[in-house]
Symmetry: C2
Subunit: 362 residues, 2 copies
């Protein structure tokens, strides 16, 4: 059944029923002109991010479930980057009236699972038709006692990143070789419970084809799966384990170099980054080399990492594994110059390369 | 100059400078991962509305200024419909990288003027490229001491609407005859100061062509201009003059009949509407008849009125002109049946006709 057969009102009714909010802070959720919420005692955070078909995603390479999950994650990542708690979600969805009902259902499954993961409530939204491309946007309201800005870095502060960089960009490049959607919804996650019984026979046969494609490239499923997962269904990093030490913070969406430049611009500082310290997974090294890409380039300017970049004073030195999240010191804040030191100790100027809209892509 | 020549970062810089927030309640505006706002003591309101090219607007018929203005207005209308005060705006914009810089500037001019009109601050957003169609969305946060829901109507309550209905739908139909954009930015508004000196020679010659087109249809500029204005640059109705009496309220976006049905559904009531009482402007009657459309159909299900529909107890009876806004009693809330009474006193069933996404349009 297509959206044109279901109609807007019936779709809204289903969504309203499914996402009924139980929180006592939500006085009115979906179903009125606006949502009504009790004001938190803490400061409010508000952010929005949109995803456009053909620009941010390709429906030949991503499932609707993955798309919904990612939309929530990238907005949560912004709230986490301020050391806040994500709370209330507003959704905007524009899609072709010929979209199949099952596509819409799986999209909302992904939204729903991400909401549960982050403890977020859906309080409103807008659903529209579109002529062709699907466009989705979310606005997310959070709260925070003490927020961490991009502008607080001081010379001498150490620069840290969470997780590994470049996994997502490498995953995207592998996906472009596979040229089809990959059913990773059921693969192991750090934080999500396993979703048993949803990957039927159809998906398994698809998986066999994908595994055979990968083996022709010299790649194994076990190598590639976490990279694909990081691209298709990123989980936002909660900084609660280290936020109290952080002097500045930003989430890595457009690439380490471009986002570090932004943090330095706001803090009016320089930075010195050691390439040899940038955390890169063995899987990413293997996969990138087999498909002929430079692992360090992916790590520094691949984009869509959704890891956190933050600074903290040199003492106490922070250790990896803060709050269950791996952190790595990759350099330090300087007064003015922005420098990259390669493995051989040679210094060069840091260039703010990464993804930018409206520009011709390299 | 095109967006592809300017680039995302330079555009963001311009926007950030132009929309720097002065409010002491905004701790951090545009330029960090999220905005940071002091929590209001009142309840929070949150809403979002999106506008999709080819669905909500046609760039052959609307100027970028009008589009920006309308995007803010339709979101403010939702906050007003809860009797709230609009405060903080988040913007999502996806547009073709070949879009001209002047288009973007005029779009933000419209956003800016509407923001000033309603006293709203821009606190964040997301700008992206799109393959073809332009998609814009806004999320708006407001606050309110005592909100008015759709669900508070009681049998015996009188039903009121603000302004005149159908002007916007009639304006759209006239616009489809004119088949070009109409420079109405400088025409008189109830609330906006005149914008002198912006309508140059080019616009004036365009206006002459439009006036000649209109006269062939038997229409005058003075008849048509307010209708076009109501469609292209609606001003949201502030209910402050009557909100204390209202038991329920909704804004009219999809048409009187469909939105009244929503209010009745939420309130679990019926309604009796007198067609003869529905406020229709003389201009709309003239224009609709000259282009062969039924004025009452436009008024009841044309959509995009952005007027308020509300209910209030019979005593005290409310008079027109509450807080500078014209109000008209069009019927009353009943227990169950939803009935329309025509001018001759004949009763018929109220049908929830109006705009619905994903459905084949009549």
């Amino acid at each position: 059944m297509k959206l044109s057969d279901i109609g807007e009102l019936s779709l809204l009714k289903t969504i309203r029923k499914r996402f009924a909010v139980k929180s006592k802070d939500v006085i009115a959720g979906i179903g009125d002109d606006t949502a009504v919420i009790k004001p938190p005692r803490k400061n409010l955070l508000a952010t929005t991010d949109m995803m456009v078909e053909g620009i941010h995603f390709d429906l030949r390479l991503t499932t609707p479930y993955q798309l919904g999950f990612k939309l929530v994650s990238i907005n949560v990542s912004d709230i986490y980057a301020m050391a806040g708690k994500p709370r209330y979600l507003l959704l905007d969805i524009a899609m072709d009236k010929n979209t199949d009902q099952s596509f819409v259902k799986r999209f909302f499954d992904g939204i729903h699972d991400a909401m549960k993961l982050y403890g977020v409530s859906l309080i409103g939204g807008d659903i529209s038709s579109s002529r062709k491309d699907m466009v989705i946007a979310a606005a997310l309201i959070g709260d925070v006692k003490k927020h961490i800005k991009r502008s607080g870095a001081k010379p001498g502060d150490r620069i840290y990143v969470t997780g590994n960089l470049g996994d997502s960009a490498c995953g995207l490049n592998v996906l472009k070789k596979i040229k089809k959607t990959v059913p990773i919804e059921n693969t192991p996650s750090l934080t999500l419970p396993p979703r048993g019984g949803e990957m039927g026979g159809g998906d398994n046969s698809q998986l066999l084809i994908i595994k055979s494609q990968l083996s022709k490239l010299g790649l194994s499923w076990n190598t590639v799966m976490p990279l694909l997962r990081r691209h298709l269904m990123p989980e936002a990093r909660n900084p609660k384990g280290f936020a109290k030490y952080a002097t500045s913070m930003i989430d890595l969406s457009d690439g380490l170099f471009i986002d570090l430049t932004r943090l330095c611009d706001e803090s009016k500082t320089g930075a010195k980054i050691f390439m040899g310290r940038i955390p890169v997974s063995g899987r990413m090294r293997t996969a990138s080399s087999l498909i002929g890409l430079d692992a360090m380039k992916l790590a520094c300017s691949g984009g869509e990492d959704y890891e956190l970049l933050f600074t903290a004073p040199p003492y106490p030195p922070l250790r990896g594994g803060a709050g269950g999240v791996k952190i790595t010191c990759i350099g330090e804040i300087t007064k003015k110059n922005r420098i990259v030191v390669d493995a051989a100790g040679r210094e060069s100027q840091l260039k703010a390369t990464g993804y930018r809209h409206f520009e011709i892509q390299r």
